[in-house]
Symmetry: none
Subunit: 228 residues, 4 copies
DNA sequence: GATGAATGAGATTTCATTCAT
DNA sequence: TATGAATGAAATCTCATTCAT
């Protein structure tokens, strides 16, 4: 959140002088976003931050730790926000909207940061995400909780399990962000707001025009599968 | 598809002896799935294939080309299948089901292959995916086409654009596969079939219990966003 | 031993072409002797061997392994020789002489190699020697065995334990080699042969002129000790 | 020596407050003994001394200088002690005993300090010892002087040169200390005292049981040498 | 004196790729 | 086609030393 830093500084009673650690972290966002975590050398971070090479290692044990720090710092904010949203008395749909809105606005506010989080951690479960699978799962669980309660109070159908609903919801958001990140989708204030609405509309409203939700049809097996 | 290989061989009029190129490709799937593309050395592929180090470079220009080949080979099958499905006369919902089914079954049939395609290419848009963005986009476009026609004939509501619908649909599938790949979701024949149904149900049926689809509510802005 | 390599090659039935592994090993001796193990970069070895940087790592897992290999290769020869000597029917004194002679001649034959073994391993028990303490101890044990048998048959006095005798004997040899290595002692064929004799004479004959070995006198405690 | 410090302080007319320089020096002994000079970072010294990082550089020009200071401080004590011992009217054998005793007791009193001196300087002639070769040689020379005079007055045989005798004597001591330092020899008051006696007994008494010291026999050349 | 953040040169190691056979 | 030795560029991380306060 925007005030996290001020709080830290107030607590430490430090003057608002240049916080090199912060500078490195911020520079890392830019550097990682520009070249990708793997292709980004530690010297790129240092250059971007205008500090000496070694200072990165003064504050962080490794290049990995920089990304770890970056990710956790922000992901925890997300978890807190989702929790907060969940605690409000709102229709489940509005809660989901609020979450989508928060994430989309986060991207609008700092695309580089979100790019790094999504591309280098969340979607890179094989390398980095693995370390943070627990943290990522927590987000799913919180969303699933919202769905579950909505199903319990009857405002959501229980055609799918809460876990699946959460997966689908988060998957849609991530896909949309990915679309922006890689220039597959047009960006802009209008697009951002529309996206929030569309995501929720798709997941909650469904695509079907039929007002009455029928049972799940099972069409004939299609031709084979991808594997050899 | 299962017959792809036979076709190839017939075309080349080769005896069914050990096709080293094929062995390398298959070994690469295993090796990439096991260690991830980056951590996987060319020697790992050669070892897994039981061929000499240098032979990999006889058949492929680079390590990248191995993955490229692997991906395109299979992704094209997907594109063909989606096209085929689209050409059938089926309700849009059934078409989506068929697509989800095909992808899920592909995972069931060869989890390593799908892991590599999803984790190392599709979700790694920053490194590898970039090269294949066009191919990936094609799949979206095909799905969007299905939605578009359904909206035109009135079977799908037009609350969201076809592009968004496609993104959400594919995002849900990918997220579910990711769940299996990283042991966040239980696997099994039952789970696979349930997943197909749930994905379609979520995207088409929507979560809302309300039969009449209302307008999109816009809840009060939530607290800030993730960025600093 | 001189014929070790020929044997290897004969066994492998290889032509006497340039054995790069061997070249690296030999170059390492020169490089380590010149700059010391720590100050010597892997590139120094490669340069000295006239091979590419990476080839060192093709044959050895690490710079350490190069020294390990070097040391063990030769130390095992020493152990074998001591064993052989011990098996001969010779007076103990002659056995010790043979050992001293072997070591001194080894230095005469390849001063660089012995410098590396002594300076970088044997006398560097804190870093490298630690790994090879067992091997080093084996040499002590063999020497102690010679002394022990001599004490048993009455040819050696048992004023000191065999272990101590071995330590003193080996310590004297090492010190002499160190003297040559660091230019504290004149080198030359005469000096080498004299050294062999002196070492044995000192350890076996003792410095005392008194023919009758008395008991150990205990003089008054001297002033304190070095520590603070 | 124990009184060295008091003398220093008296000279500087300082209060007995915590002498940071001294603390650093003492901490360095512990740190060097624990990790070895090379592996020991300057920060390890500072941590051990509970002083700030930079203070080490306030008192010493470099990490090397810390070890230099440490070594010279103590080695000079040794040289003085040997000189003192030499000036006493004692049989040469007793003088050697006194020297061995002093060194062994120094180890008993402060094993860490002696470990550093022996392992990091005296036995590390390639790196550190080189700087202190002169100082080390001085000790040899003093011992050699004792032997020489003993040979002149007839109490020592002149079968070996005084230089050699000194080398053998010091080599034996160093080897024994090394044995203790690396747990190859049992430690304990009894062992320490026995060691003193044994060292002198070996070097002065010799191992041979034969009372009459014969000429140096020259056994047949043993098999080759270690080098390739 | 005292502090510890800041600097940056340097070394090991990895591994994709090439090439001679 | 097949082999695997040979090449060398690159990147991380360490840590002695400096310096501003």
């Amino acid at each position: 959140m925007a005030s996290a830093r001020d709080a830290e500084e107030a607590a430490a009673d430090k003057p608002a002088g240049p916080d090199k650690r912060r500078m490195i972290l911020d520079a890392a966002v830019v550097a990682f976003a520009k070249r990708g975590f793997h292709a980004c050398r530690v010297s790129d971070i240092a250059d971007e931050a205008n500090v000496a090479y070694g200072l990165v290692y003064h504050y962080f044990r490794s290049k990995d730790e920089v990304l770890d720090t970056l990710f956790l710092e922000r992901w925890n904010v997300l978890l807190e926000v989702i929790t907060e949203i969940d605690h409000q008395t709102l229709p489940a749909r509005d809660k989901l909207y609020a979450i989508a809105s928060f994430i989309v606005d986060s991207y609008r506010h700092d695309p580089d940061l979100m790019k790094v989080i999504i591309v280098e951690v969340t979607r890179a479960a094989n390398s980095f995400g693995r370390t943070h699978l627990t943290a990522i799962r927590e987000a799913y669980a919180l969303i699933a909780g919202i769905v579950e309660k909505a199903q319990a109070d009857g405002s959501f159908r229980d055609a799918v399990t809460p876990g699946f609903a959460a997966l689908a919801f988060y998957g849609a958001i991530e896909q949309v962000l990915t679309g922006w990140i890689f220039d597959m989708l047009p960006r802009g204030d209008e697009e951002f707001d529309q996206a929030k609405a569309f995501i929720v509309e798709t997941i909650c409203g469904g695509l079907d025009a039929a007002a009455i939700h029928g049972t799940i049809g099972r069409p004939p097996e299609p031709s084979d599968r991808m594997g050899r």
